[in-house]
Amino acid sequence: MNGAPIGGISGVMDYRIKLDIFEGPLDLLLYLIRKNEIDIYDIPISMITEQYIAYLDAMKSLNLDLAGEYLVLAATLLHIKSRMLLPVHEEEGAEEEDPRAELVRQLLEYQAFKEAALDLNNRKLLDRDLFARQEPVDDIDDDGDSPIREVGVFELVKAFQRVITERGGDFTMEIDTETMSLSQRVSEILDLLNEKRTLTFDELLGREFNRRSVVFTFLALLELMKMRVARAFQQAPYETIRIYLAVELEGTEDHEGAENDY
């Protein structure tokens, strides 16, 4: 630490305190606009850019992590500033947009949501300002027909992630939306096969005849054949392909400890 003048430190500290309360570059910009009592529709870009960059410098001098978003807005401000300096050609482009327009729109929008957030916070919140009776502790679980408590897919994917990470790296197969589209198609085909016992490829495709559905139906069928769940037969080249279940579901007495009605 070198002997920086007291005033300098307190000035910097002032910035630091302020930075802690900013929610991002737009928030900082709104603060500067309010502090300078500026009309948001007519922002003096040079002055605001200067002040904005001064805050960023203060952040850097304090070795605070400077989120990239702050720098992006600095660049935007500098860009607007340079565009403002260009002479306006009144004759040709009379309808040319104010270089600040997009930024102003963004600021107003952000300000509106900031107010909405404040409104939300000013409401009487459950478990903060008022209370209801808590959930009774007796958790009746595993009653076949009781409804299921609201649970989101977020919890489901988290549960899956937990299982995968606990078991180490041997199950890190990437699951993406394509995989899930394929699973969806596989499950639909199995439904159809269980119902009708046999189907042609054309019947599988149904009426939905776009490229995506043809590809997924084909891939799903390959998957089922690879898994030895379905079989496909063709009498001769170019003839209709018939698909069957490899093993009939009926008469399955072994339910692997899981009694059910299927």
């Binding site: 309360i21 729109r105 949501f113 909405a116 300002d129 008022l130 209370f131 609201e150 989101g152």
Partner: protein, 178 residues
């Protein structure tokens, strides 16, 4: 009808989530929704007139008993925990989700000007925000919306009870740039 009101009061008392008129009608045999609604109304009025430690609030599409403001410090003491509160980042993110739903993460980031991953995750974990589906555009990004729990926590009957966004309307009316 005294009996109906009594039963409804008991049901509302034991339930830990708001009960809708419809749900109560289902539980009670041979009673019309109108009768249930009338009994609930009477209870709401009674508790409101009484100005006691408990009142009946209409939230999240149903009704729920809640405590009076004045008791909050002592309840917190009884429960021995700190009051549940949300950070500014969480509140702003929640506001965007509430007003713009179904909304993409990238839309929220566009509005707030910052990365919202952590805030969004916190809201999902608190069950205030949920995944509502995917948008039918390349990449099929996830869309987010608010939950019933959001209405319950913020004491809203439904989403239409949210105040309108003032400045946005102003902006659209004025059209200062074109």
């Amino acid at each position: 009808m005294k009996e109906l009101k009594t039963i409804i009061e008991s049901l509302l008392f034991v339930s830990d989530i708001p009960l809708s008129i419809k749900k109560m009608k289902e539980l009670l045999d041979d009673v019309s929704e109108a009768d249930v609604a009338a009994a609930v109304r009477e209870l709401v009025d009674e508790y409101s007139r009484r100005e006691g430690g408990v009142f009946l609030a209409e939230v999240a599409g149903g009704f729920q008993f809640r405590t009076a403001d004045i008791s909050t410090p002592w309840i917190l003491k009884l429960r021995g925990g700190r009051p549940a509160s949300l950070s500014q980042a969480a509140l702003e993110t929640l506001a965007v989700v509430a007003y713009r739903q179904p909304v993409l993460k990238s839309d929220i980031e566009q509005v707030r000007g910052v990365d919202v991953s952590a805030a969004l995750k916190g809201l999902l974990e608190k069950n205030l925000v949920r995944v509502v589906g995917r948008k039918d555009v390349p990449g099929r990004p996830i869309m987010y919306g608010t939950t019933k729990r959001f209405l319950e926590v913020f004491g809203l009957k439904d989403l239409s009870e949210l105040p309108t966004l003032r400045e946005l309307n102003e902006l659209e009316e004025e059209e200062p740039f074109d």
